[in-house]
Symmetry: C2
Subunit: 231 residues, 2 copies
Amino acid sequence: MSQARERGIPDATVARLPLYLRALNGLAERGTATVSSEDLAVAAGVNSAKLRKDLSHLGSYGTRGVGYDVQYLIYQISRELGLTQDWAVAIVGVGNLGRALANYGGFVSRGFRVAALFDADTSVVGERLVGMPVEHIDELEDVIRTRDISIVVIATPAAAAQPVADRVIASGITSILNFAPVVLNVPDGVDVRKVDLSTELQILAFHEQRKADRESGSPIMAENLAEAMDA
Amino acid sequence: MSQARERGIPDATVARLPLYLRALNGLAERGTATVSSEDLAVAAGVNSAKLRKDLSHLGSYGTRGVGYDVQYLIYQISRELGLTQDWAVAIVGVGNLGRALANYGGFVSRGFRVAALFDADTSVVGERLVGMPVEHIDELEDVIRTRDISIVVIATPAAAAQPVADRVIASGITSILNFAPVVLNVPDGVDVRKVDLSTELQILAFHEQRKADRESGSPIMAENLAEAMDA
DNA sequence: CGCACTTTGTGCATGTCTTCACAAAGGGAT
DNA sequence: ATCCCTTTGTGAAGACATGCACAAAGTGCG
Ligand SMILES: NC(=O)c1ccc[n+]([C@@H]2O[C@H](COP(=O)([O-])OP(=O)(O)OC[C@H]3O[C@@H](n4cnc5c(N)ncnc54)[C@H](O)[C@@H]3O)[C@@H](O)[C@H]2O)c1
Ligand SMILES: NC(=O)c1ccc[n+]([C@@H]2O[C@H](COP(=O)([O-])OP(=O)(O)OC[C@H]3O[C@@H](n4cnc5c(N)ncnc54)[C@H](O)[C@@H]3O)[C@@H](O)[C@H]2O)c1
């Protein structure tokens, strides 16, 4: 029989589940009741065999000859990702980025709730955003414990990120989303994910350069398409 | 002999080069002249064998018994990533997030330059940010061509992202960084990278839940729960 | 020069992820 | 009840990525 329930969903699969969930929510909004792996794969922009294998890790939730029940699959993926419960998130660093994040409605909708905002700058502390006061970073430990925060978003300048991480970890946090451009040093058992704008741009630049090299360097592929457009 | 110069650096390696570059810049600022793969690996938070293999794809730039020359390696990685040239970036969608990105000094510093800002909202158009006026989305095609934009950042609401992508691609853009929570449909030859806050949070929630399960409950309970729903 | 020491670059084994391809399973028509 | 059509779930192969372990290459000292 299936050993899907054995603990151990591959990381690559976990990283795609949110993608499937989003595609499924789109289908649900349009009133679709069932969907085949082929159609869902197109909506999520992946290969259908990969999608089926990914879903098979959660269990056997499809019906052969029919497809997947959209609502049921939404529920199963949500449960697997832990979205059937509410997660209290704190944002540390209420600058340009921290403000944008706090004002962002998109992630509050599904399972996540901004429960605290912190900053070190006394001219920012006390300011209200989305019905919540910015609190002083000195309150960090207390608030994390009393408000049952489980995920911390770091949006401070690079230099402050490691000290902030050390403090939140000392307060029992084991999940951090880091926007500061530094490699955080954390003990085992703490998960850090990072969002790094400049890394993404650099990767794009690498490929962009390669495309440019190929056009001007290889005689076989030479297409003066770009020049035709300029004229 | 080494076939490192053969075109084809693994994607996984390309994704780590920016990380190494950042670590090297940190060392350079502190005046370090040479660094061993071991030390650099620690600074970048990776395994040293992996780092050496990654660097070997660029060429043989180290000295056995000594290590890597920091400045030289910075130059080589920068060149490989295409950072020795200037990339003109446009930001489409000047809302909460677009503003934070435009104001962000961090990526202007290294090879990237914000060369245009676009929005569809006429109450935003004309506003000045970082010494640059927000232009109307109707100008998109003209500006992309005349200002030699090569990378476009999409920070519009989800619904606008695909139409915007279609237009920038029609204008010749082949590199897009997408912040909107949608899968963009693009032709071959166009690179899209996405930054997705809610995906990251969901991945953290998954692991957080797993940690909680392991602590409190026996894994058997989870299995019975799933079966209860099947009935 | 020769020797001890350091550190790179890489062959190889191992592990993880992707993709193909198809048997097995279900639905519906006759 | 049988047949045909669709679609899942997965074994197996291939592609890709990681990490060990060490020979080769360099430094510097006596
Ligand atoms: N703005 C962007 O688009 C963007 C993009 C990518 C990365 N980042 C990174 O995100 C981080 C924040 O960027 P930003 O543009 O919002 O910067 P910012 O300077 O506008 O905001 C940083 C905020 O952190 C606060 N802060 C400083 N030290 C603190 C501490 N110890 N504890 C709590 N708060 C503290 C500051 O008072 C300030 O309000 C930076 O590390 C930046 O590199 C920003
Ligand atoms: N704010 C965040 O922290 C955050 C985080 C993750 C993802 N996102 C995503 O980033 C995107 C932008 O978020 P935001 O908070 O800045 O939203 P926002 O509503 O504040 O800003 C969107 C801007 O895009 C403009 N716009 C709309 N249609 C346009 C079009 N066709 N062409 C050009 N401009 C157009 C709007 O006028 C507005 O100024 C959204 O897709 C959001 O889901 C935001």
